[in-house]
């Protein structure tokens, strides 16, 4: 019997806010232990939470980026469980009335565009971090109360690679939207993976097995790659799978049981009485909507259709937003967008890397790229000369026309002048001329090169070719 995997992901993302979720402490990674803390985030007796509005905005913004509905009534709830890193022994989260729900994310996977539905993206608070020493343990509460968003996907994912690609697409969206820095090294993105398997064609889902606390995307891919065959093997051997929570041992490359269903937590959710329901107004939502940006995939598709760019160029622009913005300022019509893209990607980017300058301080004004291309297209300068002109432009920001003017780089299309160069070259290279006549076509290129050299690169190469050919055939 053939089996298929059904995978859903719960992705936790720290939001990019200046302060924590319920207090004014800095939302900052790497401070000495327990220095970004106050009575509120330490859960001291008598304190109350006050919601960080920017975190609410970023959550709703995420909902918009993930095509979610934005309910006009959301609320916070308490999720009760005891753990030393949870200062209040409950976590404030959104249980049955999240800030966003019912969306989807589209991304490229194996050459196609696929869709994963989003159940919800809701707002909660991060917890502290436990540290274990030789004879005791400690908790750092700097992270406690950092705004954390949980993005829950529908079980639309079918493989480890797809899970991996989904996570990267999600990460790109969140970074694009300015929602989170998504710095994996700093633990800003963590996920729980729900994996089940079922015989192909069966509607009913298999037992849901959750792998908790994954903090790298490659770890997720490896864990799922391990977990799917493990579950299938259990079933094939006649075994039965039951709902459980597992942990991923990255070193051993295996998952192992953390707790089975009977030890599952009863979180005893109930509405957080210290916070009012969140009921955003039309104006508030409209203000958030202004922050919606074009997403990576949409951007890629737009670059491909609007500018007729090939996929690799579009990808370059999706991944390098400033460069893409520069390109869009430089390009004037779709007809020669590819030429502009070439200059921007091949020349400008190379020069930036080479000189270690940033795009903000670049001296070439975007329209000057177009001017340069026009000079080439009109035959005013050769492509080769254009490279030199570009270098000049990059160094001093002068317009290409004035560089060509000053340095006398204009292409020579005066046939009289070219004829003279050709005559001289043919006279000086009788062997090559004889070779051409004997049928060696390559000899023409050599002679052409000599003419270009004699003209210091300014002769119009097309004309040189034509004139040389005519003269050699006549002679």
């Amino acid at each position: 019997m053939d089996y298929e995997a059904v995978i859903g992901l719960e992705t936790h993302v720290q939001l990019k806010t200046r302060s924590k979720m319920w207090c004014g402490c800095a939302n900052e990674f790497g401070a000495p232990p327990n220095t970004n803390v106050c009575p509120v985030c330490l859960g001291l007796p008598g304190v109350l939470p006050v919601a960080n509005e920017e975190a609410l905005r970023l959550t709703v913004l995420t909902g918009m980026l993930l095509n979610c509905d934005i309910p006009r009534h959301a609320k916070f709830d308490r999720k009760n469980y005891f753990y030393p890193d949870v200062p209040k022994n409950y976590q404030i989260t959104q249980y049955d009335k999240p800030s966003t729900q019912s969306g989807h994310v589209d991304f490229e996977f194996e050459g196609k565009i696929v869709r994963v539905h989003i159940t919800r993206a809701h707002l909660e608070e991060d917890v502290g971090k436990n540290f274990h020493f030789e004879s005791n343990s400690g908790v750092d509460f700097n992270r406690a109360g950092v705004p954390l968003m949980e993005i829950v996907s529908e079980p639309d994912i079918t493989s480890a690679d797809m899970a991996y690609t989904y996570l990267n697409a999600l990460k790109d969206i969140l970074i694009f939207g300015g929602v989170s820095a998504c710095d994996m090294e700093k633990g800003m993105v963590r996920c729980d993976v729900n994996v089940s398997v079922r015989p192909k064609g069966q509607q009913e889902l298999g037992a849901k097995i959750e792998i908790k606390n994954m903090n790298t995307f490659s770890g997720v891919r490896r864990a799922v790659d391990h977990e799917i065959p493990r579950q299938i093997d259990v079933l094939k051997a006649g075994g039965k799978l039951t709902q459980e929570t597992r942990r991923w041992d990255d070193t051993a490359g295996i998952t192992e049981v953390m707790r089975t269903k009977e030890y599952a937590h009863d979180y005893r959710y109930f509405p957080e009485p210290d916070l009012m329901p969140f009921e955003p107004s039309d104006d508030w939502i409209a203000d958030v909507r202004k922050r919606v940006v074009e997403l990576p995939l949409a951007r890629k598709q737009r670059f491909m259709t609007m500018y007729n760019l090939p996929a690799p160029d579009a990808d370059t622009f999706v991944n390098d937003r400033p460069l893409a913005d520069y390109f869009e300022k430089a390009v004037r019509s779709a007809s020669n967008a590819k030429a502009v893209a070439n200059w921007v990607i091949n020349n400008l980017r190379a020069k930036l890397t080479e000189s270690g300058t940033s795009l903000e301080s670049v001296k070439i004004q975007p329209p000057q790229i177009q001017e340069l291309i026009t000079l080439v297209d009109s035959g005013k300068i050769s492509t080769k000369i254009a490279q030199d002109v570009f270098t000049e432009m990059f160094e001093n920001g002068q317009s290409p026309a004035s560089i060509v003017e000053q340095k006398g780089l204009a292409q020579v299309s005066d046939t009289g002048a070219i004829e003279q160069f050709c005559d001289e070259v043919i006279a000086a290279n009788p062997k090559s001329a004889a070779d051409f006549k004997a049928g060696k076509a390559a000899a023409l290129n050599f002679l052409k090169g000599q003419v270009m050299k004699a003209s210091k690169g300014k002769a119009n190469p097309n004309l040189v070719g034509k004139i040389l050919e005519r003269k050699l055939k006549l002679a």
Binding site: G43, L44, P45, L48, P49, N80, N89, F270, P273
Partner: protein, 489 residues
């Protein structure tokens, strides 16, 4: 003696320099030394700190500063955070905990010039109606030391009744200000939910808790309420409603005000003398020009059950933070779970454990809908009862407590009987409305105070003060003091 006077009387004397704040604070400290070994209202008093504050206040008085509470010593229930002072909520589990911050009400008292002093005894985490659930000994009723002062703010009511302070703050989740005020013969106010910031009040049941004052008369209660009320950005449930000057509303004129008598509150089972005193008070209010009418609050019967589901559910989460990890008592264990169990097992008293277990149960998977969700629905009905009644009347009149102060130990083995002593006060918290208890008489033998409860609309404190003040000023009940506490030593 200065400690027997009211805020308004004292403010006059202080501004005229007829007395100093230092003398006043000293008078309170002397009274505490004299009577508190018997009453045990205070868990601790930092005398030096109080006197130092008094000296600062005296300098401010000399400079002519006009704050409404300048130089007045106000004592606080052990549930309110005062920076640098012990905060134990009457519990062993907060062993040696010192608050690093001031509650908003404390900051407001200070801004108004008050001298904030003393930690007043209470039922552990405000759970109880007799102050017998304190981990640090019972508080006694100054009117009869064999009897309880009520609770949970029993220390706050007893201290005012015994003139150990000029006024005090307490908290009221189901009657914890009004019931002890009634049992000790002082004025107690439960403001509208959202009227007073809860920041710095250790939560028992967050959706029911409110901080309020205990005072020797209605005017003082009005002055104090004005000081502590108002929106606070640190409490998301505090409401940005302007705070009126309640004292100027105390005109003594209540002609034409409509008072509702809920028929569900005047039924059998009440102490006869309490019933009679309340009836007399109603007649008295009528004689002052108020118009009374019978009203109905049909869901009254469900109030106690509803309350004990919602309050315990919230408490089960609110008290989860007392776990021995970060502060307070810790009993070591082999792993965190064992540490939690040992710490909480040793740190909490029986009533607190009972309520945590009950609250945990009603929120459990499979029971939530039957208990918590249903209780929330009933709560909505109870609030609707009151809002409907307030379409017809300006305030509601009831007894505060069905009985006068009972004997220590009398109900402590029967939680249900104890719960029923809050039967008239609980609905006010569920509905989120305002309430006040004023003295309205005494039982004959022994002589024990009886309280009259007035319930008002949301943000109807002004009307309650006006009615209570008019009543009080035409009676002498509020002037009575337990005789032994007034004799000079």
């Amino acid at each position: 003696m200065l400690n027997q006077l009211t805020i308004s009387e004292l403010r006059t004397r202080l501004t005229k320099r007829a007395a100093s704040s230092r003398e006043l604070v000293q008078a309170c400290l002397d009274q505490i030394k004299r009577v508190d070994p018997k009453v045990h209202a205070f868990l601790s008093v930092d005398e030096q700190d109080a006197l130092a504050q008094a000296e600062i206040a005296d300098r401010a008085i000399a400079a002519g500063l006009p704050q409404p509470l300048l130089g007045i010593p106000i004592a606080v229930k052990d549930v309110l955070a005062v920076k640098g002072h012990s905060l134990q909520c009457g519990s062993k589990i907060l062993d040696k905990f010192v608050s690093p911050y001031d509650a908003t009400v404390i900051a407001r008292l200070r801004k108004a010039g008050a001298i904030v002093f003393g930690r007043l005894n209470m039922d552990e985490f405000a759970m109880g109606s007799s102050t017998e659930n304190s981990a640090f000994g019972h508080t006694r009723n100054p009117w009869d030391l064999e009897r309880v002062p009520g609770g949970s703010s029993g220390g706050s009511s007893a201290a005012v009744a015994a003139d150990e302070c000029i006024a005090s703050l307490g908290s009221d989740t189901g009657g914890s200000i009004r019931q002890p005020a009634a049992l000790c013969g002082v004025v107690g106010v439960k403001p509208t939910y959202g009227r007073v910031s809860r920041y710095g009040l250790v939560a028992f049941a967050s959706s029911l808790d409110q901080i309020g004052p205990f005072a020797k008369d209605v005017r003082d209660a009005a002055i104090l309420t004005r000081v502590i009320a108002g929106h606070d950005s640190l409490d998301s449930t505090s409401i940005p409603e302007p705070v009126p000057d309640y004292a100027i509303q105390l005109t003594g004129d209540i002609k034409g005000l409509r008072l509702g008598l809920p028929k569900e509150y005047f039924i059998g089972g009440m102490d006869k003398e309490v019933a009679a005193a309340v009836q007399t008070a109603v007649k008295h209010l009528e004689s002052l020009g108020a118009v009374t009418q019978e009203i109905s609050l049909p869901h009254t019967d469900y109030a106690v059950a509803t309350y004990y589901i919602i309050a315990t559910a919230e408490a089960s989460a609110n008290l989860a933070r007392f776990d021995g990890i970060r502060y307070g008592m810790r009993v070591e264990g082999a792993d965190p779970n064992e540490l939690y169990m040992k710490t909480r097992g040793a740190g909490f008293g029986a009533e607190v454990k009972r309520r945590i277990i009950l609250g945990t149960y009603v929120l459990s998977s499979g029971y939530y809908d039957a208990y918590y969700l249903r209780a929330q629905k009933v709560r909505t009905l109870i609030r609707a009862d009151f809002l409907k009644a307030f379409e017809q009347v300006d305030a509601i009149v009831t007894p505060t407590s069905p009985t006068p102060a009972f004997k220590a130990g009398e109900k402590s083995d029967d939680p249900l009987q104890m719960y029923l002593s809050d039967i008239f006060t609980i609905s006010c918290n569920l509905a989120g409305i305002s309430g006040i208890s004023v003295p309205c008489g005494f039982t004959s033998s022994p002589k024990l105070p009886i309280g009259l409860q007035l319930l008002g609309k949301p943000f109807g404190e002004g009307t309650l003060f006006r009615i209570a003040h008019a009543y009080e000023q035409s009676t002498n009940w509020h002037k009575e003091r337990p005789e032994w506490t007034t004799k000079p030593s």
